[in-house]
């Protein structure tokens, strides 16, 4: 596939959802089947193109290979903004992920949204959302990244609030939008910081600038934190995660789309894409934010009974993993986990949608024993649950293991073990609550017989996406072991050795100084072929005698992390089985016993209440201050200006009336008076004139005579 073919395919992928949006939005009502076939069909074409690009990059197999095309979009003298697309390995993977999930969600929605009042509107918004997300994936500069970033914000607002006549949905989309705005504020400041420092917005020019040291020190740190704030908002990290659980008010296919492949993936993708822009300080912030999110959110999922809420908190926890991986300097595994997570999380949501469709309830206590009624849903959801739990040979295992390995390796070199501990704990909690979901929904006896009798398997348009995603959840990681992955063909850490070296110079314990962590290339010999440049740079930096030291650390870390994560996964599953299937533990008594902890978890650590107690009154206070300022100062200035103007007008009126008009009237009066006088002379009598003439002659003669 030539470069041009790749570019045009990428453009077509971007354009098709937009076209689908426009067509369905304007003509949907008049089209047969309200135009759903346009949405599904166009996404299908986009999916095929994405697969083509994916295969092309698979064949190229070089993560640094990229196709970039841009034209000047805005030129204001010294200030130039390009519009362009960039396709490289990472983009190819993301295109594949977004298009696959979006296509399957479109297909699923045909069944799930059947008979809805605004059926065609739903497909239009899905197209618009997909378009926005693909724009983020394909942008080649920060400005257009930001433009599409905001479009995703808008389209998520439209989709989350799709059932806007429901009060909670209307509130949820406002919450999502405003919370994202907080993150976007930092994101925009970060973009501006980089732009003022370097004068360019293009990714690779920025990387070169950072490499050359144009941006460094505190500016680099703060600008990186600013960019990361965008990720905190979109990817729902602490403390801006509060919008995501509420976003469950949207239709279930939307939850699958937003929480698996599009919106929340955008933040992770952005940080991975811009990895070289994050200095060591920013990386530290990212690492800890990710680790804390991964842990805290997984604990909340333990007590929730709403099936979609459990999945929402598991999404938050998994996103925390990805962000933690980014912070540990390993964007490759973050993207890998993003890909596998997209598959199994979309599957979980769509499966949950299928369950909800069957029993018309989201509460797990209303379900039970559904495995006989919903065999396809049960099997596919079980696969996804095994994948998210990190059971070996399922996709999630490899990516999660990679992340935990990198985090441990980072901890071993820098002494920051806390993120790994939080991560591995969350890795044990995740299978526990996921299997709790499975046991409560599909096993045991039906709790409400009426709902159970009514339940039936979903139509094919809903079942097919489940099956496809089930297969993908198994094979997405490929056939590789954790050491050797297909993913290395697509992404390579841009400059991780340098970042790690920076860590090592700043804060590593003395004994570990030769063991610079290089998680991206920590997979032994495999990556030496992938990224020879990094290897070379490393060799130059540390000399012959230390060469290979970091391999040992990374390798050891990966082996240990793998063993620990397998143990954690099976421990979690076993405990869950013990508690929720065998009912050996009385959960109600446990709840009573640890009432305080239960309340905190059920209250989601009271983040909402915290904001209600702090941000809310503070905002009101600022608003009232602004109102007062507006009323007294701004209005005062305006009114004062008005009063002054009136005064000046009055004075100038007086001047006009007496001075200017006086002069004008005076001239007129003088002329009139003169006219009156001279009028008398002109009598019209010839004799009078003759008298004047002769008198004048006499006078002249006399004068002449006398002088």
């Amino acid at each position: 596939m030539s470069d041009n073919a790749i570019l045009y395919s990428a453009l077509a992928i971007l354009g098709l959802p937009l076209l689908s949006y426009v067509l369905i939005f304007f003509f949907g009502k008049r089209l047969p089947r309200q135009g759903d076939f346009i949405g599904v069909g166009f996404m299908g074409i986009a999916e095929l193109l994405a697969i083509r690009i994916f295969i092309a990059f698979w064949k190229i197999g070089d993560p640094s290979y990229r196709v970039e095309k841009a034209f000047t979009w805005l030129d204001l003298g010294g200030f130039k903004i390009d519009a362009g697309i960039l396709v490289d390995g990472m983009t190819a993977v993301m295109l594949m992920v977004v298009c696959t999930i979006s296509f399957l969600v479109h297909l699923y929605s045909v069944g799930y949204m059947h008979g809805d009042r605004r059926y065609e509107r739903f497909f239009a918004f899905l197209g618009f959302f997909t378009f926005s997300m693909l724009g983020i994936v394909l942008a080649n500069n920060l400005f257009f990244l930001y433009v599409f970033w905001e479009l995703v914000g808008l389209s998520s607002y439209l989709l989350i609030g799709f059932f806007f006549d429901k009060h909670s949905a209307a509130n949820a989309n406002k919450k999502a939008f405003i919370t994202n705005r907080v993150g976007d504020w930092g994101f925009w400041l970060g973009i501006l910081a980089f732009f003022t420092a370097t004068g360019t917005l293009n990714y690779f020019e920025l990387f070169a600038h950072v490499d050359a040291g144009t941006v460094k020190g505190a500016l680099l740190g703060w600008a990186g934190v600013g960019l990361f704030m965008g990720c905190v908002g979109k990817s729902a990290q602490m403390p801006l995660h509060i919008w995501l659980p509420d976003a469950m008010e949207g239709p279930t296919p939307v939850s699958a789309l937003i929480h698996a492949a599009t919106m929340v993936a955008a933040g992770v993708y952005m940080v991975a894409r811009l990895a070289p822009l994050f200095g060591a300080d920013a990386m530290m912030v990212i690492l800890y934010v990710g680790a804390i999110t991964a842990f805290l959110m997984s604990t909340v999922a333990l007590v929730k009974t709403d099936i979609k809420r459990v999945l929402a908190f598991s999404t938050l926890s998994q996103l925390g993993y990805m962000v933690m991986s980014l912070g540990a300097g390993d964007p490759t595994n973050a993207m890998f986990h993003l890909t596998t997570h997209a598959m199994f999380k979309a599957l979980l949501f769509l499966g949950a949608g299928s369950v909800i469709h069957a029993v018309h309830s989201q509460e797990m206590p209303d379900m039970g024993g559904l495995r006989k009624k919903l065999p396809i849903t049960f099997v596919t959801m079980l696969i996804a649950t095994l994948a998210i739990s990190g059971v070996p040979f399922f996709a999630g295992f490899y990516s999660k293991d990679g992340i935990l390995g990198s985090t441990l390796a980072f901890g071993m070199t820098s002494g920051h073990y806390l993120p790994f501990i939080l991560g591995i704990t969350a890795a044990a909690i995740t299978p526990f609550y996921m299997f709790r979901l499975i046991f409560m929904t599909f096993f045991g006896k039906p709790r409400i017989q009426e709902k159970y009798d009514h339940a039936h398997e979903s139509p094919p348009s809903m079942a097919i996406p489940l099956i496809v995603l089930g297969v993908l959840s198994i094979i997405a990681a490929g056939w590789q072991t954790a050491d050797k992955g297909w993913f290395a063909k697509f992404t390579a850490p841009y400059d991780v050795p340098a970042i790690a070296a920076e860590f090592h110079l700043e804060g590593a314990p003395d004994g570990a100084h030769e063991m610079v962590v290089d998680p991206g290339q920590g997979h032994g010999d495999s990556h030496a072929a992938v990224d020879p440049h990094a290897e070379e740079a490393h060799g130059e930096e540390h000399g012959e005698e230390h060469g290979g030291g970091h391999h040992d650390v990374a390798h050891t870390a990966h082996v240990r992390a793998m063993i620990m994560s397998i143990c954690a996964a099976f421990l979690g599953i076993l405990l869950s089985w013990w508690v929720y299937n065998r009912h050996k533990v009385n959960t109600a008594a446990l709840q009573k016993r640890f009432h305080g902890a239960y309340t905190v978890l059920q209250g989601m650590y009271f983040f909402d209440e915290l904001y209600h107690k702090t941000v809310y009154p503070f905002t009101l206070w600022v608003a009232s201050m602004s109102a007062a300022f507006d009323k007294y100062v701004i209005d005062g200035i305006v009114n004062g200006t008005g009063y002054l103007t009136r005064l000046m007008a009055w004075i100038s009126g007086l001047i006009d009336k007496y001075f200017v008009d006086g002069a004008v009237n005076g001239v007129a009066a003088v002329l009139q008076g003169a006219g009156e006088g001279f009028r008398r002379i002109q009598t019209g009598r010839i004799q009078t004139y003759l008298v004047y003439v002769s008198a004048s002659v006499l006078v002249l003669v006399l004068v002449y005579r006398v002088l």
């Binding site: 010839i686 004799q687 003759l690």
Partner: protein, 102 residues
């Protein structure tokens, strides 16, 4: 008594003054016209007198003859105007004809 230039000039001046007085004081347009004739003839006396006593030629006489012809023509035109005036306004008083004044 030797009649010289000053005598003629005195007569001429008197005549001119009388003519002028007539022009200035008369209301009747024909009277004004007659005053003008007197002034013209005063001028003729001057021409002839200067020609006789100063220049010793006939230029003055010729000029006088021209003036007489001119006076005749002027009288014809002026009388025609007076006739037209009378026909239009019903009067020959110069000060009663003042339709241009307002």
């Amino acid at each position: 008594m030797n009649v010289g230039l000053p005598h003629f000039l005195t007569v001429s001046a008197a005549l001119f003054a009388l003519g002028m007085f007539a022009v200035m004081s008369r209301r009747n347009a024909i009277g004004i016209l007659m005053g003008v004739e007197l002034m013209l003839n005063a001028a003729n006396i001057n021409f002839v007198a200067f020609s006789r006593y100063v220049q010793h030629g006939i230029d003055g006489q010729i000029m006088a003859a021209f003036v007489i012809v001119l006076a005749a023509a002027e009288a014809a035109v002026a009388l025609a105007i007076v006739l037209a005036m009378f026909r239009n306004f019903g009067t020959v008083h110069a000060d009663s004809v003042q339709s241009l004044k307002r």
